[in-house]
Amino acid sequence: MAVTIYTTATCVYCRAAKKLFSEHNIAYTEKDVAQDAAARSEMIERSGQLGVPVIDVNGTVVVGFNEPKLRELLDIRG
């Protein structure tokens, strides 16, 4: 399972998403788009979105902290 999350340091929904990953032992790559201009362009291009978090789960792009969708994609139950 490959999970990438595009974040900014001050984004509370990013923090909530990362908490969900940690609670279920899901490894993820974090890209801080405030610091990393290349990651910022990549995120905007891939999601068509000017806002964080953007989360990529095995190639499926989820915009925002959409918990039900993330649980489904990550096969988290309960």
């Binding site: 900014t8 509370v12 923090r15 979105q49 000017l50 918990e67």
Partner: protein, 318 residues
């Protein structure tokens, strides 16, 4: 059967939780998350007892405090939202009222009393283009997304505290910030206001009504109307930061308690009682005019004191 269900985990709900547990009122607190709307605030400077704290850290402190009382007296249903409340037994029936609550996850609870502390949520922009460009230049969380507007020109709609806070964060990133206020004058605390208006990047405009958001793939301009002259102007921007107040989360109470025309719960402010016996309310969901964390907490405590006395009285008469 609970004695009390508290709806909400913001300052009001959490304060009520602490007091309920300390009074050993058998309670359940249902919340989607902790800390309320200030969670996205970069820096809260008016939380009495703490000079400066981020919204996220404040939320965490609130959660920790109320959870210190978790146990047989105070239980939690987290990540859930109440979607329906029904009165099972009428207040005039034996032993007072009884209610059922249903959450968005289908869980059902029974209780003798309810404290509504469901707060408010962000009001969204409703002009043409607002939906199309949501997330494509229109931003509702400056704290989250301000860094994405590095080197860009932006507009902030709303000249209250939240609007000034957004502008303040944008000063570090954007090249030009126009601040629009619908009314004759800006609102917001003088401290933040003065700090923002000092910046050469900021252009403040009052009497300004937003008319349309224009764009291609992303936002390219905001059209606004001068309410005094009636003239419209097109402002070239890549970001539109919206801070135009909040809407009370009270839809699930329609028909059960009296709401005013804004959807706020009408309270007896001495007791925090709603129009229906057995239901109390506190915080931003109510018609209390000043939406402040410190007030929400105090009002919830006031409600809890009245709930406690009411429950004691019910117990002694049944």
């Amino acid at each position: 059967m609970y004695e009390l269900v508290i709806i909400g985990g913001g300052p009001a709900g959490a304060a009520a939780g602490v007091y309920a547990a300390r009074k050993r009122v058998k309670s359940l607190l249902i919340t989607e998350g902790w800390g309320g709307q200030s969670e996205v605030s970069p820096d809260v400077q008016n939380w009495i007892g703490i000079k400066s704290i981020s919204g996220i850290d404040l939320a965490q402190k609130i959660e920790e405090h109320v959870k210190a009382y978790a146990g047989d007296v105070l239980e939690f249903d987290e990540g859930s939202r109440v979607v329906e409340v029904k009165e099972l037994v009428l207040a005039s029936g034996s032993g007072g009222p009884k209610f059922t609550l249903v959450t968005n996850k289908g869980k059902k609870y029974e209780t003798r009393s309810i404290l509504v502390a469901s707060g408010g949520r962000r009001r969204k922009l409703s002009v043409p283009g607002a939906e199309t460009y949501d997330g494509k230049g229109i931003v509702y969380c400056a704290t989250c997304d301000a860094p994405l507007f590095q080197g860009k020109e932006v507009v902030v709609i709303g000249g209250g505290n939240a609007g000034f806070e957004s502008a303040q964060q944008l000063i570090s990133y954007a090249t030009k910030i126009t601040l629009l206020e619908y009314a004759e004058e800006f609102r917001g605390d003088s401290v933040t206001r003065e700090a923002v208006l000092k910046s050469k990047k900021v252009t403040p405009i009052t009497n300004a009504e937003s008319v349309e958001v224009k764009g291609e793939k992303f936002v390219t301009a905001l059209v606004w109307k001068d309410r005094k002259t009636g003239e419209t102007h097109e402002l070239p921007v890549q970001g539109v930061f919206v801070e135009i107040g909040s809407i009370p989360n009270t839809e699930f109470l329609k028909g059960l308690v009296e709401l005013n025309k804004y959807g706020e719960i009408i309270l007896d402010h001495k007791t925090a009682r709603t129009s229906r016996e057995g239901i109390w309310a506190a915080g931003d969901a109510t018609d209390q005019p000043y939406k402040q964390n410190n007030i929400s907490m105090g009002d919830a405590v006031k409600a809890l004191e009245d709930i406690y006395l009411w429950l004691q009285k019910k117990k002694s008469t049944t």
